[in-house]
C-alpha cells in the first residue's frame, strides 16, 4: 500500500515538476522553433504514456495486493488486448516520428540563399572565417597551420587571399540571414553549440561537417563545445554576436583579409629573438593554453602580461617580470595565477630558450592607445541588454 501511494506521489510530483520547473529551454534565437515544438510534442505523448502506465500499476498494486484468501487469476495471454496495445503503441510512435522527420528534412537542406561561414576548432578555442568579396573559401589544410596562420589557409590559393579570418574574437552574424556553418577541426573532435540556436554539430578533423540556422534575435550568445575534447573541454568557449545587417557589413568591411595579414608578417622589424620565442611557444604547445590575443583559455593570456601585476592563488601579487615568467615556466605550480587550474606541466628549458620566450611574451603588448580604445559598436552600445563586453581588436 505504501508503495502504491509513493508511486502515485511520484507520478503527480513528476507531472507537477514538469510544469513548474525553472529549468527549461533558453529563449529561442533562431529559426528552429519547430525543434522546440517537437520537444513539446514528445513531452506530451510520452507524458501521457508515463502517467497511464504508472497509474495502472498503482491501481494494480492496491487492488491485487496479497490478502488472506485472495488468489491470482490464471490468464496466460489475451491476444486481442495484445494486438490492441501493439496498434496503439505503433500509432504513438508514428505520431512522434512523422512530424519529426518532416522537420528533419528541413534541417538536412540548407536554403540556397544561406551565407556560408566557417568555424574551425582546436584545443580549446574557436576560429572563424568568412569567404570575403569573392564569396569563395580558399583551400585550407591542417598542414598549413602555423602560429600566424591558425586556420591553415593555403597561402598560395588566390581564392583565399580575400578570406577574412577571425581568431580570438567573436563570430559576428547578421540577423535574419540564413547561415550555413561549415565546421573543421585541426586536432580532435569538438562540438559547436549555441543553446539558444538549438542546432549543433560536431567538428571533425579530416572532414568538413555542416549545419544551418537563421539567427532571429540580435545579441551575444555563448558557444559551447559539446564533444569531449580533452582536459580543457569544459572551458572551450566562444561567442556569437548577432547584429543588424548594416552593422555586420560595416564590421566585416573593417576586417583585414588573409592576404593583408600575410603581408604584415613580412615586416622585417620584428626581432629575431621574438620569432624564435614564437616558434618555441608553438613547438612546446604553450599557445594551446595561453592566448596571445587577450582571450581566456586554460592559462592566462600573454597579451599585456609582461610587467603587469598578477594576483596569485594565495591572494598575494607579483609583477610579471622576466624572472617571474621564467619561474612560471620551470615551476608553474609555485606561483599560480588566481582563477586558473594547476594543470601546466613544468618545462625544462635552457636559459637561451627561456630568454627567447620572455622576449616573445614581452613583445605581446598593445600600444597604450589600443588598450583604452573600445571597439566601435554603435548598435550594440544602444542595447546594453545584449550584454556584450567591449572586445579588443581581433585581427592580430
Amino acid at each position: 500500500m505504501i508503495l502504491a501511494i509513493v508511486l502515485a506521489l511520484i507520478v503527480i510530483g513528476s507531472v507537477a515538476f514538469h510544469f513548474v520547473t525553472p529549468w527549461t529551454v533558453s529563449a529561442l534565437a533562431s529559426n528552429w522553433s519547430s525543434m522546440d515544438a517537437m520537444l513539446q510534442v514528445s513531452f506530451a505523448i510520452t507524458g501521457v504514456v508515463f502517467v497511464a502506465v504508472s497509474l495502472f500499476m498503482v491501481v494494480a498494486l492496491i487492488r491485487f495486493r496479497h490478502r488472506p484468501g485472495h488468489r491470482a487469476r490464471f490468464e496466460p495471454d489475451n491476444r486481442r488486448l495484445e494486438w490492441w496495445l501493439l496498434g496503439a503503441t505503433t500509432a504513438g510512435i508514428v505520431g512522434l516520428l512523422a512530424p519529426g522527420l518532416i522537420v528533419y528534412a528541413d534541417f538536412v537542406r540548407a536554403p540556397p540563399d544561406a551565407m556560408q561561414v566557417e568555424v574551425v576548432g582546436d584545443q580549446w578555442r574557436y576560429g572563424y572565417r568568412f569567404p570575403g568579396a569573392d564569396g569563395q573559401f580558399g583551400a585550407a589544410n591542417v598542414r598549413h597551420v602555423r602560429g600566424d596562420n591558425p586556420l591553415g589557409l593555403d597561402p598560395d590559393d588566390p581564392a583565399g587571399q580575400d578570406d577574412i579570418v577571425i581568431r580570438g574574437g567573436d563570430l559576428r552574424l547578421p540577423v535574419d540571414q540564413p547561415v550555413e556553418v561549415l565546421l573543421r577541426s585541426n586536432d580532435v573532435i569538438h562540438g559547436f553549440f549555441v543553446p539558444q540556436f538549438r542546432a549543433k554539430m560536431d567538428m571533425v578533423p579530416g572532414m568538413v561537417t555542416r549545419f544551418w540556422f537563421t539567427p532571429t534575435r540580435t545579441g551575444r550568445f555563448e558557444v559551447l563545445c559539446t564533444q569531449h575534447c580533452g582536459v580543457g573541454h569544459f572551458n572551450m568557449r566562444g561567442a556569437v554576436v548577432v547584429k543588424g545587417q548594416e552593422d555586420f557589413d560595416a564590421w566585416l568591411a573593417d576586417q583585414r583579409t588573409f592576404g593583408e595579414q600575410l603581408a604584415m608578417l613580412e615586416d622585417p622589424e620584428i626581432d629575431a629573438q621574438v620569432i624564435r620565442g614564437r616558434n618555441l611557444a608553438e613547438q612546446h604547445g604553450c599557445v594551446a593554453c595561453h592566448s596571445v590575443d587577450g582571450s581566456r583559455q586554460i592559462g592566462p593570456t600573454w597579451l599585456n602580461l609582461y610587467d603587469s601585476e598578477v594576483t596569485l592563488a594565495d591572494g598575494s601579487t607579483v609583477v610579471a617580470d622576466a624572472d617571474y615568467i621564467r619561474r612560471s615556466i620551470t615551476d608553474p605550480g609555485a606561483e599560480l595565477t588566481q582563477g586558473f587550474p594547476p594543470v601546466m606541466p613544468a618545462f625544462d628549458l635552457d636559459d637561451a630558450d627561456l630568454g627567447a620566450l620572455v622576449s616573445y611574451i614581452r613583445s605581446l603588448a598593445e600600444a597604450p592607445e589600443d588598450r583604452s580604445e573600445p571597439e566601435e559598436m554603435p548598435h550594440e552600445a544602444q542595447a546594453p541588454g545584449d550584454g556584450e563586453e567591449p572586445a579588443r581588436g581581433n585581427t592580430d
Partner: protein, 587 residues
C-alpha cells in the same frame, strides 16, 4: 530439439581440494559467484569515482579533483559500470548460475572454458585497475574513447592509460567470448528432458539472446581497440587524419575518426541491450513469482526479446546524429530506433498486465521489480526523444542524455540486479537476506536515484552540456541550476553510502540469515526444485530432472497449491493452456 543426451551423460568428478573447489573451480555455481563478487567489487570502485565526480559538480569550489583527474574518473566510471560490472554480472554472474539450474543441466557444456572465462575476466579487471598506477594515470577520453582525442596529448592518460584500457577491453572480450559460446551452446544442447525452448524461463531467454548479441557485437569493439592501439603505438592511421597536437604536426594522414565511432557504436548500442535483455528476463521472473501469477503473454515476451536483439544491430548511428556523418542517415536510424520502442513497450505492458489480477506479495525482490518498471518507463520514454533525430539535435551531448542512459541502463538494470540477488540469494546460500535492511536499501536507492535523474533531464533541456568539469561563468545557466547540481550531489552521496546496507546484508545474511529451505518463494521454475540447497556439484543428485510444463504455473485453477513446479508430472490442467501453445509444444 527438446534436449540433448548431453544433459544426461555430462559427468564431472567432484573436486576434492579447497583450491579446485573454490579457486580453480569448473563448477558453474562457483564461477558465477567469482564473477559476481569481482564485478560488484569493481563496481564499488566505479561508485566511489562517481561520488567524487558529483562532489566536484555539486561543490566546484571544493577542489576535490582537478580537471584531468575528473576526466579520468569519468572515463573509468563509465567503462567499469557498463562493461566490467553490468555485462559481467548479468552474463558471467547470473548467466553462469541460472542457465544450468533453470534448464536442468549438471553444468555448462565446457566447464574448463568457463573457468578460463572467469580468469580472463579477472585479468582484464586487473589490467584496467592497473591503469591507475601507470605513468600519466588512466585515460580520460570518456568511455567512448573517440580518437583522435583518446591518443593525443591534450587528454590525460593518452600515453599509457589508453593502452591499458584497450588491452583490458581486448582481454575482456576474450573472456566474454568464451563465456558467451558456453552459454549459447549450453542453452541449445544441454536442456533436460521436456525443457523445450518455449518452456524456458524468460531469464534464460534474455541471457541467451544477450549472449548471442555479445558474440556478434564485441568483435566490432575488439577490432576498433586493436586498430586504435596500432594508431597509437605503430603510427598507423586507421582513425587518424592529419592533425596537430599541442602545436606539433603529427605524422598521421587520411584516417577517419568517424570510422571509429561506427565501430564503437556497432558494439555500443547492442551493448545496451546485452545489459538490458538479461534484466528484462530476470525481472519478468521476479514479477511472475512474487505476483503469484503467470507471466502475461509469454510468447509475445519471447518474440519481443528476439526482436529487440535483432533490431538493436540496426540502430547504432542514433548515437551519431550530430557527429558529422551524412545527414541522410538520420532518417533511417530515427525510424529503426523508434521501431525498437514497439517490442520494448510490449514488454512493459506485459509486466504490468502480469501484476493485474495477481496476488502481489511486496517482498523485497518485488519492490525492486516495481522500482525497475517505473525507472525503465522513464528511461525508455526519454529514449524516444533522443531517437527522434530532430529532437535529439538540441539535446545531444547534454545532461538529458546523461539522465536518460543512467535511468535506462544504469539504475534500471541495477535495480534488477538487487532484486535478483535478494531473490536468488537463498538458493546460493540456503539463507534469507534480512528483509528490513532490504526494504530500507530499496527505498533509499529507488527514491534517491529518481530524485537524482528525473530533474537532471531538465538541465539538459536547458542546454547544459555533459562531460564538463565545471560550469563557471556561463550566462545561460542560472544559479538555480547550480543549486540543483548541489542537491543532486547530496542525494547521490546518500544513495552511494546507503549501498553499505546492501553489503552488510549480503555478508551478514550469508552466515546468520534465517534458513530458507529449498524453495522459500514457492517458485515454479526448475532451479528451486534442486535436491539440495545450495545445490551440490552436479546440481541434480542421481539423475537430471524431467520437465512437464512451463515455469509460470501459478494459481492454476484446480491445483491444490498456488504453484505447480515444472517437474510436477500431473497433466497440464487449468482452463487456458498452461504452457507453450500446442504447436510450439511439439517443436
Amino acid at each position: 530439439m527438446a534436449y540433448s543426451a548431453a544433459a544426461e551423460t555430462h559427468e564431472h568428478h567432484e573436486p576434492q581440494s579447497f583450491v579446485t573447489r573454490y579457486i580453480w573451480s569448473q563448477d558453474h555455481k562457483v564461477i558465477a559467484i567469482q564473477y559476481s563478487l569481482t564485478a560488484i567489487s569493481v563496481g564499488l570502485v566505479a561508485l566511489v569515482l562517481s561520488g567524487i565526480m558529483r562532489i566536484q559538480l555539486g561543490f566546484p569550489d571544493s577542489g576535490v579533483v582537478d580537471a584531468a583527474t575528473y576526466y579520468q574518473f569519468m572515463t573509468m566510471h563509465g567503462m567499469i559500470m557498463v562493461v566490467y560490472l553490468l555485462t559481467a554480472l548479468f552474463l558471467g554472474g547470473f548467466g553462469n548460475y541460472l542457465i544450468p539450474l533453470m534448464l536442468g543441466a549438471r553444468d555448462m557444456v565446457f566447464p574448463y572454458v568457463n573457468m578460463l572465462s572467469y580468469w580472463f575476466y579477472l585479468l582484464s579487471v586487473i589490467v584496467l585497475l592497473a591503469s591507475f598506477f601507470v605513468p600519466g594515470g588512466p585515460t580520460g577520453a570518456g568511455w567512448t574513447l573517440y580518437p583522435p582525442q583518446a591518443i593525443t596529448p591534450g587528454t590525460p592518460g593518452a600515453d599509457w592509460g589508453i593502452i591499458t584500457m584497450l588491452v583490458s577491453l581486448a582481454i575482456f572480450i576474450v573472456a566474454a567470448t568464451m563465456g558467451g559460446l558456453n552459454y549459447v551452446t549450453t542453452v541449445l544442447q544441454c536442456r533436460c528432458p521436456g525443457m523445450t525452448l518455449m518452456r524456458m524461463p524468460l531469464s534464460i531467454w534474455g541471457i541467451f539472446i544477450a549472449s548471442i548479441m555479445a558474440l556478434l557485437a564485441f568483435p566490432a569493439l575488439f577490432v576498433a581497440a586493436v586498430m586504435l592501439i596500432m594508431d597509437n603505438t605503430l603510427g598507423t592511421s586507421f582513425f587518424m587524419p592529419a592533425v596537430i597536437a599541442m602545436g606539433q604536426q603529427l605524422d598521421h594522414e587520411g584516417g577517419s575518426p568517424l570510422l571509429f565511432q561506427h565501430l564503437f557504436w556497432f558494439f555500443g548500442h547492442p551493448e545496451v541491450y546485452i545489459v538490458a535483455l538479461p534484466a528484462f528476463g530476470l525481472v519478468s521472473d521476479l514479477i511472475s513469482t512474487h505476483a503469484r501469477k503467470n507471466i502475461f503473454g509469454y510468447h509475445m515476451m519471447v518474440w519481443a526479446i528476439v526482436a529487440i536483439g535483432v533490431l538493436s544491430f540496426f540502430v547504432w548511428a542514433h548515437h551519431m546524429y550530430v557527429s558529422g556523418m551524412n545527414l541522410s542517415f538520420g532518417y533511417f536510424f530515427a525510424i529503426s530506433t523508434l521501431v525498437i520502442a514497439v517490442p520494448t513497450a510490449i514488454k512493459v505492458y506485459n509486466w504490468i498486465l502480469t501484476l493485474w489480477r495477481g496476488d502481489i506479495h511486496l517482498t523485497v525482490p518485488m519492490l525492486f521489480a516495481v522500482g525497475f518498471i517505473i525507472t525503465f518507463v522513464v528511461g525508455g520514454l526519454t529514449g524516444l526523444f533522443l531517437g527522434n533525430v530532430v529532437v535529439d539535435i538540441p539535446l545531444a551531448d547534454t545532461y538529458f542524455v546523461v539522465a536518460h542512459f543512467h535511468m535506462v541502463m544504469g539504475v534500471a538494470p541495477i535495480l534488477v540486479v538487487f532484486g535478483a540477488i535478494y531473490h536468488w540469494f537463498p538458493k546460493l546460500t540456503g539463507r534469507m537476506m534480512n528483509e528490513r535492511l532490504g526494504q530500507l536499501h530499496f527505498w533509499i536507492t529507488f527514491l534517491g536515484t529518481y530524485a537524482i535523474y528525473f530533474p537532471m533531464h531538465y538541465l539538459g533541456v536547458l542546454g547544459m552540456p555533459r562531460r564538463y568539469y565545471a560550469y563557471e561563468d556561463y550566462a545561460f545557466i542560472p544559479q538555480s541550476a547550480h543549486d540543483l547540481n548541489t542537491f543532486i550531489t547530496v542525494v547521490a552521496l546518500a544513495v552511494a553510502i546507503s549501498q553499505v546496507l546492501f553489503l552488510v546484508n549480503l555478508v551478514w545474511s550469508a552466515f546468520h540469515g534465517k534458513p530458507s529451505g529449498d524453495n522459500p518463494w514457492n517458485a515454479a521454475s526448475l532451479e528451486w526444485q534442486t535436491p539440495d540447497t545450495p545445490p551440490k556439484h552436479g546440481n541434480w543428485g542421481a539423475s537430471v530432472p524431467v520437465v512437464h510444463r512451463w515455469p509460470y504455473d501459478y494459481n492454476v485453477p484446480g491445483a491444490p497449491r498456488d504453484f505447480i513446479p515444472q517437474t510436477d508430472p500431473r497433466p497440464e490442467t487449468g482452463e487456458p493452456h498452461g504452457g507453450p501453445g500446442p504447436q510450439e509444444g511439439k517443436a
